[in-house]
Structure formats: structure tokens, C-alpha cells
Symmetry: C2
Subunit: 453 residues, 2 copies
């Protein structure tokens, strides 16, 4: 890899893109693996689709905003191609194309990067990961319930305890609007209500009255029906009150299906003993127009300001653009990068620049094979071992272990191997155990191996 | 996601790109996870770099062939950008850019897709995964030894038993050429010898004599020194013979360093009891010009025709293009897609379209919460459970389980929950156990859960 011209090319990266050093990539990988395990534990299977697709496929649905952000170009064969900007459009294309090969309900997850050339700001990148899971081909409310269970299990598995999953139903919102004869304006009203946490109740009233020309009575009626009074809680309606409120709403509206569906979901959550993590939140509408049933957003309760870290909902037909088959579904997406920011902010993982649990010091190059034989025993027990490849002074090897943030050092020379007893230094605690067996070493390290996320 | 125009866009994918359905993605993910575990067990940490980089960065080193294949375009900001075509150039840029933040020796792995717009042919794709691991900043022969150990552990962990890792050393090849006064022509000679398995010994002699104008005596002398006689073995030199051959070669050449390094590596492999998986193969030269030390290729012995599934070697300086710091290293790359083809050809995994181990049938929608509470117990034991979301006839649910290739069905109605005993059908074996506890069910499923790759 010599540089023929001798000229140095300045090593730099595109704006809005990132390198992930081990200290960032280690926790990211752990969270991805944890979520994958949760998805699979419910029978969701992994799929993959290409990063590049025909632009025509990707823009079929895209909003004007997305069109401008897409990385689009002409390939060697003169084809108009683009990098995917989400995982939903490729999923719609995938399901349409492989419809006859798939077994429905089709439960898939897909964790992969997407690209958007949008303006960069804090926490916004041009390359970021999406982490989607969906149940396709089922219109059962039990599928909605399952998606919520997966989200809850996801938070639990990554060690989050303080989270709230806010639920609403687009059809219940519309039933309420219908009661006030405002169904036609549904989209605009829901988009405005969706902003109530950000702009406040008064501003929502002002927009709907002044900009939309609705009567103040109607607006107040709708908001009151939605329990969005002056003192509404951002955390939504919780516990037993959920059932009272939803039963009342059901009785107030003509189309009772949505309220009944929500009641079923909440009753099942209660029976599973997990109701405390869920709320009925009438202000959650999900601006995106393709949701048609249940919708939800999830927050870490002591970090509400980070916004929703897992959102989703039900849609009537995923594949309308690419196929005549009607495929209803329900799904959600963890915002992986945002979730990582929250966990980092909560100091839920120690930043480490190495995965190694123990470093085997090299006191003598002629002992290398023996060091690796010791490593093999520890590796078989699930311990990550780094053997120091170059012999150097003990002090230097300790310094290396410290810079690596590796907790243990296993120190052994020829004498130790003769008797099969080794020295283990706990660098963090500053303690050393002398002349102990490899079995003792393994149990000591395993006991202290923090299950860091 | 409604289609406003009502026009159907034909769902299609770019030539040379692939969708991975669950039956392909499940084994791929398992192999990736297995290799990640192996890498981490030796203290290699994960990193990530952007898919898009400045073209100038990527082409700094690229050969003319690569230049033509690269996906290159102008982004929204008028920047000349391109998709990475390998993980080595981004690594060189990464190490140069983050030099002061990294702890050397820096041990990293990186598993990610790369893109090349090359002509498609069987088994060649325009988007494919690379799976690289390297030790940077160490010139120790023990680092070479470790990379070989990682490869061996990788094959063992994915369940391959019949593999051979062929080793050679560029400096030993050059020392032999020097003996014949042919050092200057080194690159051409090594590239020709590299083809000996494909074209045969006679053709190698013909090329070097007729095309290169070397004397037949010299060519034969070199090939004889390299033990590439008429009856040379494609599997290289194995077992104790390795030491005899290398000791003789060391005595024959002037620069003995390379032979000594190889002897050290092979002695350590012998002491670790794994020599049987390694060979000294004098015909392996690795055409790429940046290797400067040990080089190696790995084959599945009963599928030699698939070519090397893991190759690599040592290089003097990774970062020459982007930095004045000298960073020597050694590393290798598993050819993930090729490895998957070999394992598929060897029928080493059952193709399944679902990760679920058991399907919990839905006999009654009012039991949904109870089904999920049962699932929770099984999930906690590492069993993947799919609850059938829509109640339907038993026959339909069995049909679904069969199409999913799920082995077990757990069948329970209100009566079963009353007594806490359930029915478990082993669909593959056609056997049913009636009225057993959830603990019995868990142990039955776990026992039969095949550890498929």
C-alpha cells in the first residue's frame, strides 16, 4: 500500500458521516444483538435488501422532502439508481416481488443503514441505522398487541426500566372528528394536535381556529373529548383510568371498532402484568399519512426531551404501489442512534475501547503457544482474551492494559506454567491473586464480567 | 402508502444485487455472529466507517480495474463521492485520521457490505459483504500467529472440520529469487507462480521462459527450490515435513529471517496441537502487491474448487497514502458469501424460513395474554416462540407451522390452562405429548434445538 507519488492525501470524512471507534461501536453492536434476540424470540426472521435500488422504486412513495434528500445517480449501465432512504419502501418492494415465496403472516426484522442528504445538525446524520420489525398479512389486533410486547421486551432486554409506550388509534381519532363533523379536515387537525406537546394547547387552538377557520367551540369540543384539557399530562392516561376513558369514548362515538380494539390491547397488557409501561395518549397521532389503525411512540421517561425512541403503527396496505395484492400490517422501528444517545446520556454503559476481559501478558516469546492454550480455556468459558504479542517490560504491558481499559491481567512465566498456577491482577481494584489455577481465574473473571449493554 | 395515481410500479431489483429472504439471511446472520464472537474472544473490537467516502480517498490506492468498477457520483454539495469497494482503504484512512485516539496494537474487525460495478457472473455480486480483521501497529511474528489462530477458530466455530490454511512468506520467496539473481523480476515471477494450480507447472515454465525471457535452468531451479516439482501437491507441505523443508530452505538462502519466522509460527501451531490444519505452501504468493511478509489462503478441503475462503497477510505500512506514521500490520478477510456457498453446497445448514422453534396455536382469542405468558417462559429459556395471532381451524394452524418449517406446536385451550398442562406436537417426528408441564416442554424443545449454523 505504498504511495507511489509520495504525496499524502489528507484523511477526511464526508460531512454528516461518522466513523465509529470501538468505544462507540461496542455498545451499538451489543444493542443490535440484544434487539435481534428479542425479535427472534417472537419469531421475527431477518431479511436483507440492497442499499441501491432503481430510483423509480424508491421515489414511488417519497414525499417531496425525501426526493430532495435522496442520494441519486446514474450507474455504469446508465440506470437511474439511488441509495435507500428508509427500510419501509424497500420492504414494500420486497414483499410485492417475493409475494408468492413468502409465508404470511410474514414477520421480518431488518437492521441496516439508510442515507439522506439532509442538512446536518446535532444528532442528525446523513447515514444512520434503522431497526424495523413488522408483521405483514395480518389484520388481527393480536398482531398489534405483539408489536407492543416486542417493544417492551426490547427496552427490558437493553436494561431500560423507565420507559413509557404511548398508544393511540387513528380510527378512534377519526371517529371523534366525525362526531364533530370534521372528518374531512382529519389530516390537518391530526397533524396540528400531534404538535401539542411542542407548541402547547393554546397554540393548537389558535392554529385550528385562525389558520383553519374552525369554530372555537368545535376545537375545544374535540380537545375536551380527547382529554386534552389545560392540565393534560404529557405521559398520557395510565393504569385503570385507561379503561374508564376508553369505555366512555366508545360510548360517545358512532364507530366503536377502534375503541374496542384499544380496550382489547390494554386488557391483554394488563393480564400480562405489564400495563404500567403503557399509556393511552390521545395526542399521539403520527403525522405520516400511511397509518390507518393503532399508532404508538415510546419514550424514556427521564429523557422525554430526546423524543420517541421507538414508533410505529398499523397500515391497511403496504404494497399498493408495486402490487395488486393487499397486504395489511403493523410494525415499529427503534431509532437506534437516538436510543444510543439516551443510554449514553444516562451513563448506562462504560465506554471501553476494547472487548477484551483479560490480557495475558507476554513475559517470554517462547511461551506464546502456552499463552494461547490458556486463552483457549478462557475463551471456551466465554471470556475474551488478548495475548500481548510483543514481549516488553511489565510496566509497559500494564500501561497497555490500562489504556485498553481491560480489567484483568494474567501474568505467568515459565515457573508458573511448570506448576499450573498463575497470577491474576485485577487492575481496576488494584488487587492481585497469586498462584491460582486457571479454573479459579475463569470463575473470578466470569463473576466480575459486567453485563454491560 | 396508498398509490395516488393507481399505477403499479413493477417491483424489480438492480442486476448484480440481491434480496436475502429469511432462508438465506438466517444462516448468514448466524455465521456473522459466530465470527464476531471468535474475533472478540481474541480481543478484536468492532469499528464502522461510512459507506460513502470522498472519491479521492478511495482511489488513492485503487488499481485501474477498481477505478472503473467504483460507484462514483456528485452529491448535493457538488462533492465527488463514491461507495467503498473494500474495507482496507477505509481502514487505512480511519487509522490515519484517528491515529492519536487509537491504542496500538489496534485490533479491529469490520463486517460490512462493499460495492463494485463489475460484470456479474455466477457467485459474483455488485454488493457483497467483507469480513476483515487486522492487528495494526505490531511487527511481531506472534501477531501473524494470532491471525492464523483466529482463522482456525473461525472455521471450527462455524462447524467446518475439513479445512486447510496454506501459508507462505513473501520475503522467503524473494530470498529464493535472490539466490537466482531474479529479485528484480519478483513481482512478475510471483504472479505467475501464483497461477500454478490453475494453469499447471508446464505453463508457468513456458510463461517465464518464453514471455519473460528467463533461462529454463533458472526457472526450473526456482521451482525445484520451491518444491514445485512435477508431482507437487495442491495441499502444500504438511506435518513434520514442514520443518525439514523450511530448515533446508533457511540453510539455502542468504536472508534467513523469513524462514525463521515461518518456523516459529509452525512450531507454535504444533505446540498448540493444531498443525494438522496448516500447510507450508510455496505456491501461495497472493498477487496483490501490498503484502510484504507472511501470506495465507484457506480452503475447505472437499471443496477446493470454490477457491480460498479466507486470505490475508502482513504488510509493512497500511497508512502510507494518508499519513507519515508507519503502521505495519497483519490481517485477513473471510469471504462471507463464498463461505456461505460452500456451506450450502455441503448441506451444512437446513434452509428454514423462520427462526421460530415453536408455534403456540391460537384456539381462543380470549387466551392471547395467557399464550404470551407461556411464550415469556420459553423465551427466557432461549426458545423462539411464535404465537399465532389469528384464531383459525387447527388444520390451518398446522399448515402454517409446516410452511414455516417450525418443528413444535404447543396446543392449549382453556382446559389446559386450568390445570397448567399443555400438549406439544413434534411436527417433524409426528409425535404428540399430551398434558405436560411448561418445564417439560422447555426441556424437550431445548434438547432438540439443533445448533444449526
Amino acid at each position: 500500500m505504498a504511495n507511489i507519488q509520495g504525496k499524502i492525501i489528507s484523511p477526511k470524512i464526508l460531512k454528516g458521516f461518522r466513523d465509529l471507534l470501538p468505544e462507540s461501536m461496542i455498545p451499538k453492536k451489543r444493542i443490535i444483538r440484544t434487539l435481534e434476540q428479542v425479535f427472534e424470540s417472537f419469531g421475527f426472521s431477518p431479511i436483507d435488501t440492497p442499499a441501491l435500488e432503481y430510483t423509480e422504486i424508491l421515489l414511488g412513495k417519497g414525499s417531496g422532502e425525501t426526493d430532495k434528500q435522496i442520494y441519486r445517480f446514474e450507474d455504469h449501465g446508465g440506470r437511474d439508481v439511488a441509495l435507500r432512504f428508509d427500510l419501509t419502501v424497500p420492504l414494500a418492494r420486497f414483499v410485492s416481488q417475493h409475494y408468492s415465496e413468502l409465508v404470511f403472516p410474514f414477520k421480518r426484522y431488518h437492521i441496516a443503514p439508510v442515507w439522506r442528504g439532509e442538512n446536518t445538525q446535532k444528532g442528525r446524520y446523513r447515514e444512520f441505522y434503522q431497526c424495523d420489525f413488522d408483521i405483514l398479512g395480518s389484520d388481527s389486533v393480536n398482531a398489534d398487541f405483539e408489536i407492543l410486547q416486542v417493544i417492551r421486551n426490547g427496552f427490558e432486554a437493553i436494561g431500560c426500566k423507565d420507559y413509557i409506550i404511548n398508544i393511540n388509534h387513528r380510527k378512534l381519532l377519526n371517529a371523534i372528528l366525525a362526531k364533530f363533523g370534521e372528518e374531512a379536515r382529519s389530516q390537518k387537525i391530526l397533524q396540528t394536535i400531534d404538535k401539542i406537546y411542542k407548541v402547547g394547547r393554546d397554540e393548537v387552538v389558535r392554529i385550528l381556529v385562525e389558520d383553519e377557520g374552525m369554530s372555537a367551540d368545535t376545537v375545544n369540543g374535540i380537545l375536551t373529548t380527547l382529554r386534552l384539557n389545560e392540565n393534560f399530562s404529557k405521559e398520557g392516561i395510565k393504569g385503570k383510568e385507561i379503561f374508564t376513558v376508553l369505555e366512555n369514548l366508545r360510548d360517545e362515538v358512532e364507530d366503536k371498532v377502534a375503541a374496542e380494539e384499544l380496550l382489547t390491547v390494554f386488557r391483554n397488557l394488563e393480564e400480562c402484568g405489564v400495563l404500567e409501561h403503557f399509556a393511552y395518549n390521545p395526542a399521539i397521532t403520527r403525522g405520516l399519512d400511511y397509518y390507518t389503525g393503532i399508532v404508538f411512540e415510546s419514550f424514556i421517561t427521564d429523557r422525554m426531551e430526546f423524543g420517541s425512541v421507538c414508533s410505529g403503527g398499523r397500515y391497511d396496505n403496504l404494497t399498493g404501489l408495486y402490487s395488486k395484492n393487499i397486504v395489511p400490517g403493523v410494525g415499529a422501528s427503534f431509532g437506534l442512534d437516538r436510543l444510543l444517545s439516551v443510554l449514553e446520556d444516562k451513563q448506562m454503559f462504560t465506554k471501553k475501547n476494547s472487548v477484551a476481559d483479560v490480557m495475558i501478558f507476554n513475559l517470554d516469546d517462547s511461551l506464546i503457544a502456552k499463552y494461547y492454550l490458556l486463552a483457549e480455556k478462557m475463551q471456551a468459558a466465554g471470556i475474551n482474551c488478548e495475548v500481548v504479542s510483543s514481549k516488553s517490560k511489565l510496566g509497559n504491558q500494564f500501561k497497555l492494559a490500562e489504556r485498553r481499559q481491560v480489567r484483568y491481567a494474567l501474568i505467568a512465566g515459565g515457573d508458573e506454567f511448570e506448576v499450573g498456577k498463575y497470577n491474576l491482577k485485577d487492575i481496576f481494584a488494584g488487587e492481585e491473586k497469586k498462584a491460582i489455577s486457571i479454573e479459579e481465574i475463569i470463575s473470578e473473571i466470569k463473576e466480575n464480567k459486567k453485563v454491560n449493554v
